[in-house]
């Protein structure tokens, strides 16, 4: 809603209605931002993309328009969203989430002068599009680092992982995490749980996240990493309930910053997936007249993934973690598995 309601206006949290896409009126490129379900304000993925665009708007004097997916929408609705943006003059259009892969593939040929990007995307056919960038992330590398953090921090020798849905994407997180933990502490035990096997509702079920994480804490884990979207809040709650000495690790954005006051002290770190960086880069490339195309991998080296250091508790581990980070960037550690 557009109301400037005062209800509980936070100190550090910007109200979602302070909208740069409504206020910006520069003459730089026009950015189209097509969100996945959840839209702006989801404190994850979509917000991260928005942050990148916000920065781009400031830096390049750009303007932007937004659109948001609804539950169970048709493929044609996604296409229509993208076409609308293109027709409204957007020259850099970002589809947030791999669900946009097909629709971008269908729309891009009709707008050769417009540049598209799909976060986590892929080209669904064998015809390459020369105006589409697929922004991929090396989630296993970031997860590797937080795996190191978890194993080093753990006193019990057991850590946990909670996935939202047991699909390939989330398995990448699990695999990297486990590999990192084993690298730091070979005899570490990793408890793994998934909230749902295939039903995407696993990303929106905090109660399930809490139950799964509590199960792992009960089994002796003292650090639990989640890759469960909106269910992650339940994982943090589980850590709070498990009490001092237990930790949770966030995902995608720095969740220490957005978590509630009670959860904050328990969030050791977060695996950062820099959708903001990728989005910004993409807009920048368009602005520079050298638009990114094809597969772009955002890994540690490109600062596309990482871990957050907002919680002071991580300080004494940082040296260790950065050591691994350097090794990965150097290529000393390679072949981090993407499958558990």
């Amino acid at each position: 809603g557009g109301s400037d309601s005062e209800g509980g206006s936070g100190k550090d949290k910007k109200a979602a209605s302070d909208d740069v896409c409504k206020t910006a009126d520069g003459d730089g490129p026009k950015i189209g931002l097509a969100y996945d379900v959840g839209g702006r304000g989801d404190r994850s993925f979509n917000d991260s993309a928005y942050a990148g665009v916000e920065k781009a708007v400031a830096d390049f004097d750009a303007t932007c328009i937004e659109g948001e997916a609804t539950d169970d929408e048709a493929e044609s609705a996604r296409e229509d969203r993208l076409r609308n943006m293109a027709e409204n003059g957007a020259t850099a259009i970002i589809g947030v989430g791999f669900a946009y892969s097909e629709s971008v593939n269908a729309v891009a040929p009709d707008f050769p002068e417009v540049n598209f990007a799909v976060v986590d995307g892929f080209d669904p056919d064998d015809k390459a599009n020369d105006n589409v960038a697929y922004l991929g992330f090396a989630e296993e590398q970031g997860s590797f680092l937080v795996g190191v953090a978890a194993a080093t921090k753990s006193k019990s020798g057991t850590i946990g992982f909670v996935g939202g849905v047991n699909n390939d994407l989330i398995q990448k997180f699990e695999a990297g995490y486990t590999a990192g933990a084993k690298a730091a502490k070979p005899d570490i035990k990793v408890e793994v749980a998934y909230i749902q096997e295939s039903d995407l509702s696993g990303f929106g079920d905090p109660a399930g996240g809490k139950a799964a994480a509590t199960g792992e804490f009960d089994k002796g884990a003292d650090v639990v990493y989640h890759a469960a979207g909106g269910s992650g809040s339940g994982v943090f709650d589980a850590a709070v309930e498990a009490g001092e000495g237990n930790w949770a690790i966030g995902v995608d954005s720095d969740q220490y910053l957005t978590a509630t006051a009670a959860q904050k002290p328990f969030i050791l770190t977060s695996m950062l997936k820099r959708v903001d960086t990728a989005s910004y880069d993409f807009v920048k490339s368009v602005n520079d007249g050298k638009p990114l195309t094809s597969f772009q991998v955002y890994d540690l080296k490109a600062d596309g993934v990482g871990y957050s250091t907002a919680n002071p508790e991580i300080k004494d581990l940082q040296a260790d973690i950065d050591g691994y980070k350097a090794k990965i960037v150097d290529g000393e550690i390679k072949d981090i598995p993407t499958k558990p």
Binding site: G8, S17, A207, T260
Partner: protein, 412 residues
């Protein structure tokens, strides 16, 4: 005269006793399997705690279903009322704290119930049709209001509102510790019961206790008071009730409002206790499961408690420990074989054979594998429901005028 009194008590006692026996046998069976398969997790206090948390929202919804259907109104709108409850809990907790939040959850659920009552009771709309519409509206309203209102809240967003304060938890010090000591011994049966007591007395949410208490309250109110008798008569034969001076509309309205409120409380539990926040779609069909638990429990409080516990237990077990689900296969297999034997003893040969075949199949599955594929564990609650209903649907007895239309002045 006294003989009849005794007889009457006898019926009531026999009914509650049979649930007691089934419960005891169930615990014994699980305990037995726990020991021979060495999966202590099956009845660890943590498991039971999780099961209780998973049970509560389902239980609240099932109770909601019970109230409505005992008064003759099928309430398939429980899911929508529950969703409204999650939103209400979030909104009111954010502003006024958890207890007002629970009242808010009840209020929002009650509004959903009111809509259902107006449609079905005053306008005689088909109960299921109205319920479907209410599920649509409930989900739409919660999503819409969340986007419009929570986006600007601290900890909020268009689809969530986190960091809600939870209702207090309580621990009963002596009992809790003693129970823990006994539970840790892993004795047959005793430790399992102790684990249950431990879970019920350690850091248990007052809202959980409230919901469990509501089962007892519902049982007493519905079966031991004249209010309850009148309400149930509306579900059995509203015309007869009308001719005896019962204001059928009023009782049906009350029942459906309570039903909605209970479902709302179930939603509130999800937002406040099962997690610390609201998010859209977080009910995930638990309203429907509550309805199934009620049918499973033959429209009786004890039965629906058993049903809700079964769902809650299997659902939380698979989240915590997929290995335990494999042991659960053995429980099911033994249970089925015992049931088959009982049927054979009762000379119901055909039924006995069917059940035995299924039992042997499950047993074979248990023996020949050492894990249940994860995907299948997700299905456990649903498959269990289908099984139980398939085996026992004929024994179920719903209120005679359940789902029927009633209009004032139609008596005679």
């Amino acid at each position: 005269m006294s003989t009849a009194t005794v007889q009457k008590r006898g019926i009531v006692e026999r009914v509650s006793k049979s649930w007691l026996y089934i419960g005891l046998i169930g615990i014994g069976l699980v305990s037995f399997v726990r020991i021979i398969t060495d999966t202590n997790d099956l009845t660890a206090a943590g498991t039971i705690r999780a099961a209780i948390i998973a049970t509560c929202p389902i239980l609240a919804a099932a109770l909601g279903g019970l109230w409505a259907e005992r008064a003759g109104v099928v309430n398939i709108g429980l899911e929508g009322q529950m969703i409204l409850g999650t939103w209400g809990a979030a909104f009111f907790t954010y502003h006024y704290g958890p207890w007002v939040g629970i009242l808010g959850a009840a209020l929002l659920g009650l509004i959903g119930g009111l809509l259902h009552a107006i449609a079905t009771i005053s306008f005689g709309v088909d109960h299921i049709v109205s319920g479907v519409a209410i599920n649509l509206i409930g989900a739409g309203v919660a999503t819409y209001l969340a986007e419009a209102i929570f986006s600007d809240y601290e900890g909020g967003g268009p689809r969530q509102l986190n960091g809600l304060e939870a209702p207090a938890q309580i621990t009963i010090p002596g009992v809790s510790d003693l129970a823990k000591d006994i539970a840790d011994q892993h004795w047959f049966f005793v430790s399992d019961v102790a684990a249950f007591i431990q879970a019920m007395t350690t850091n248990i949410s007052t809202l959980s206790l409230l919901i469990f208490a509501l089962v007892v309250v519902s049982a007493v109110v519905l079966w031991r008071t004249s209010f309850g008798l009148r309400l149930r008569s509306c579900g059995e034969n509203p015309q007869a009730a009308e001719t005896l001076g019962v204001n059928v509309y009023r009782y049906k309205y009350i029942a459906v409002l309570i039903s909605g409120a209970l479902a709302g409380i179930g939603g509130g539990f999800l937002a406040l206790v099962a997690s610390s926040g609201f998010s859209t779609g977080q009910t995930g069909g638990r309203g429907y499961i509550g309805l199934a638990a009620m049918i499973f429990g033959n429209w009786r409080p004890g039965g629906l408690l058993a049903g809700a516990l079964t769902f809650g237990y299997t659902d939380s077990l698979r989240l915590r420990d997929t290995q335990s689900v494999h042991s659960l296969l053995l429980v099911v297999a033994i249970g089925l074989l015992a049931f088959a034997a009982w049927r054979a003893y009762r000379r119901q040969v055909r039924g006995a054979v069917t059940v035995a075949v299924v039992g042997v199949a499950v047993m074979a599955w248990f023996l020949l594998t050492d894990a249940v594929p994860r995907e299948f564990t997700v299905m456990t609650p649903y498959v269990t429901t289908l099984f139980v209903l398939a085996l026992g649907a004929q024994r179920l007895r719903m209120p005679a005028a359940d789902g029927a239309q009633y209009r004032r002045g139609s008596a005679g």
